[in-house]
Amino acid sequence: MRNIIHHLRDAPISAWIGIVIVVFYAVLAIGAPVFAPFPESASVGAQYQPWAAPHYLGTDALGRDVMSRLIYGARNTVGIALVTTALAFTLGASFGLLAATVGGWFDPIASRVVDVLMAIPPLIFALLILTITGTSIIALILVIAVLDSTRVFRLSRAVAQGILTMDYIEVARMRGEGLFWLVRKEVLPNAAAPLIAEFGLRFCFVFLFISALSFLGLGIQPPTADWGGMVRESAKLIGFANFATWQTATFGLAPLLPAGAIALLTIGVNLIVDWVLHMSSGLKD
């Protein structure tokens, strides 16, 4: 813990911007019912209201408050992305570390299975499976987690192979340590830094992937608020933007709001990831 505070004090300004952004999203997501002025999916006003009180960011095609939906969207999209990434990492990292440590027949079999999964374009593959299973949240999480764990598998296997050449692994093996000890105590702590950095990146990809699926209509289903879906719903509004007054111009901004929310979070996470990567690389400049 002392170590983390120590590192935080040394963090560059870019990392701090990232931390502020991520904390802001986290607070919004956790406290969504408190911050949102209106309910998530109830029609609370007329259709297509411009930006004015009490609907500061206007209303959508069904008269739902856009600001409230953006705030709930943080909870849904980010929450699902987080669970999915965590699952992908548990799966990918366990198999990756095991494949490297056990070796033998297990490694080639696991690696080839992963190769086959990676050979199919993930979006097409996800669309295919989701059409079969139906678009429940559980199915969404499981499908994306399995697809994404292939990348994590590759990375953790490569990192672990580097660590396994170290003499301290040989010492542990000479002592007769079991597989669990080797993976849990000798390999994992040393693989943590690159894996954490990858977690940040993968989180962004998963997040964009869910948004893309929602945009295509196979992700999070209405009326649940979700940023990808919101982009889709409001995309056609761009055509109605009228730049005569700033209030009519806001129609043009409507699809940019959820898209901007996605972009900002992606940037924030990446700023933190850059910093973690720099620390783990040991560079001093």
Binding site: Y168, E170, V171, M174, R175, P189, L283, K284
Partner: protein
């Protein structure tokens, strides 16, 4: 015109760590005349590499030159623009790194890398540079000088690579070359050739050189002047011969005396000698490459057997076979009358406990994410089932045994320890299993001489107190002289000669043993000259 080439005055260099600038070099002066060789010696952390690099106006990442003047042939380097520095580096000042294998780009042929600097600086055309490269390769005594440049770095040996690197540094005929421990990673027999080649070529072109090393005997052969550094300060400087004959400061004297350690002769054992480990006609191979051929060896309880040989002689492989990491193809190893399974994992835990190994590189042998108490504590709970207070008490006992303060070191991570301290922790980890037999694989070769001597004394004391048996793998003859009872000389996977230390070190020798023994640098500054002359006459006579 003055013949002073490099004039560094009151150099202060700092490094950034723990959120503050910490001094690395604390105000050192350095003068170098044209054609002169200055030897910089000191332990690791003394700042000798940092000072050497500063002579090029360069500092490593996270360091800065805070104060001082670096005048190279009248040009001020401290604070000079990177453009001005680029003009000088590679052309008038060159650098030869410790590990040539790591310093060469593995994707390009040697001669192409040679041509880079002269072509870049506009000294020669590509064709001229290639012709010149072959000429220099010949001068530096590389085999097949016309063709060797067209090989890739991995296709030549370590000694040849180091010579190719020296030739490359010479490409623009610089005024100054900085050699940063160029022979430290080489075997003694190869080291001689490289030293001779470097010395001749530097003399021939009247190049000034700064020669950084921790090996006194090497610096004695190379340098005109010797400067001794200690923790960023100069201890003393004098002409080489004067310094060797008559060191003034206490620290220098302690450096000079370091190779004098000799263990007390072992006391004859009560109840006669018993064999602890018997190695019987072992054959082993990596894939299809045979590395051990018919090795047989008896190790008496309580003795120290030293295995000597160059890299590639199979001595570390022997250790791996004994520990059960590499299953032998043929042959049996018996421990205290019991035959050992060839796979370590299949040996009973009680038996495995008795055999321990200490690695060469303490850096990679300690898990960087485990505290010292966890490193030493694991074998205690694994082999002996110790827990809680009993385990902590034993960790404290072990740390005291290896002369580290338990309160200070228990909660540290390996990165917070010096090289010697790390190696001590590795020893404690081996001792935690309460073994009878320890394999020491080059345990001192990565350490400074003073520190290494401390480790040897510690191992010797532990042997007497705990009745341990050592198999000591090393390429350093001085280490063998200090601690061995019996010596085994290995070459290309076979045992060339074995016997008691007295028998091995007194003539007549086997030819290979003779070569090995005569290649160990001595403090006599004329040693290299005489030896090379002697070998030349032998070649001409033969």
């Amino acid at each position: 015109m003055t013949d002073l080439l490099l004039d560094m005055k009151n150099i202060k260099i700092e490094g950034w760590s723990d959120r503050q600038w910490k001094p690395i070099i604390k105000g050192v002066d350095l003068q170098l005349k044209r054609g002169e060789i200055l030897g910089l010696i000191g332990e690791s952390g003394a700042g000798k590499s940092t000072l050497g690099l500063a002579a090029m106006g360069y500092t490593k990442g996270g360091c800065r030159i805070r104060e001082g003047n670096i005048k190279f042939d009248g040009i001020e380097l401290a604070g000079a623009s990177s453009k001005a520095l680029r003009q000088l580096r590679g052309k008038r000042i060159a650098y030869v790194a410790q590990s040539a294998a790591a310093a060469f780009n593995p994707a390009f042929k040697l001669i192409n890398q040679y041509c880079e600097a002269p072509v870049q600086h506009g000294v020669m055309s590509k064709e001229q540079a290639e012709k010149d490269a072959k000429e220099l390769y010949r001068k530096i005594r590389l085999p097949d000088p016309d063709m060797i440049g067209f090989r890739y770095p991995h296709q030549v040996s370590g000694g040849q690579l180091q010579r190719a690197m020296t030739a490359m540094a010479m490409a623009c005929r610089p005024d100054l070359i900085i050699f940063d421990e160029p022979t430290t990673a080489l075997d003694v027999t190869t080291q001689i050739e490289v030293l001779g080649a470097i010395r001749d070529i530097v003399r021939e072109f009247n190049t000034a050189a700064i020669y950084i090393t921790h090996d006194l005997a090497v610096v004695a052969q190379m340098a005109d002047q010797i400067k001794v550094l200690l923790r960023g300060d100069e201890v003393e400087q004098a002409p080489a011969r004067e310094m060797l004959a008559n060191p003034k400061e206490d620290y220098t004297k302690s450096l000079w005396a370091v190779r004098d350690f000799r263990r007390a002769p072992p006391v004859p054992r009560e109840g006669g000698e018993t064999t602890l480990l018997e190695i019987n006609t072992i054959h082993a191979a990596y894939g299809t490459v045979k590395v051990l051929d018919n090795i047989s060896l008896n190790i008496r309880r309580g003795s120290t057997v030293a295995v000597v040989g160059e890299s590639g002689s199979g001595k570390s492989t022997l250790a791996r076979v004994i520990m059960g990491l590499l299953p032998q193809l043929e042959g049996v190893i018996t421990y205290d009358g019991e035959s050992l399974h060839k796979l370590g994992a299949k040996r009973p835990r009680g038996l495995q406990r008795h055999l321990q190994m200490i690695h060469q590189m303490a850096d990679t042998a300690l898990n960087p994410k485990q505290k010292i108490k966890d490193v030493i504590g694991r074998p205690l709970s694994f082999f002996l089932g110790l827990k809680g207070a009993a385990k902590e008490a034993r960790i404290r006992e072990l740390l005291t045994l290896i002369e580290l303060d338990p309160d200070e070191f228990m909660d540290r991570f390996p990165s917070e320890l010096s090289g010697g301290q790390k190696q001590r922790v590795c020893i404690a980890r081996a001792l935690a299993a309460e073994p009878d037999f320890i394999i020491c694989d080059e345990v001192t070769s990565a350490l400074d001489q003073l520190v290494a001597e401390g480790i040897l004394r510690l191992l010797d004391r532990l042997q007497r107190e705990l009745d341990l048996t050592y198999l000591f793998i090393t390429h350093d003859i001085a280490t063998v002289r200090s601690i061995a009872d019996e010596v085994v000389v290995m070459q290309n996977g076979v045992i060339v000669e074995q016997g008691s230390k007295e028998a091995i070190f007194s003539p007549p020798h086997e030819p290979y043993t003779e070569l090995l023994l005569s290649s160990v640098p001595e403090m006599d500054p004329d040693w290299l000259t005489n030896l090379l002359k002697e070998r030349d006459t032998q070649v001409t006579a033969g």
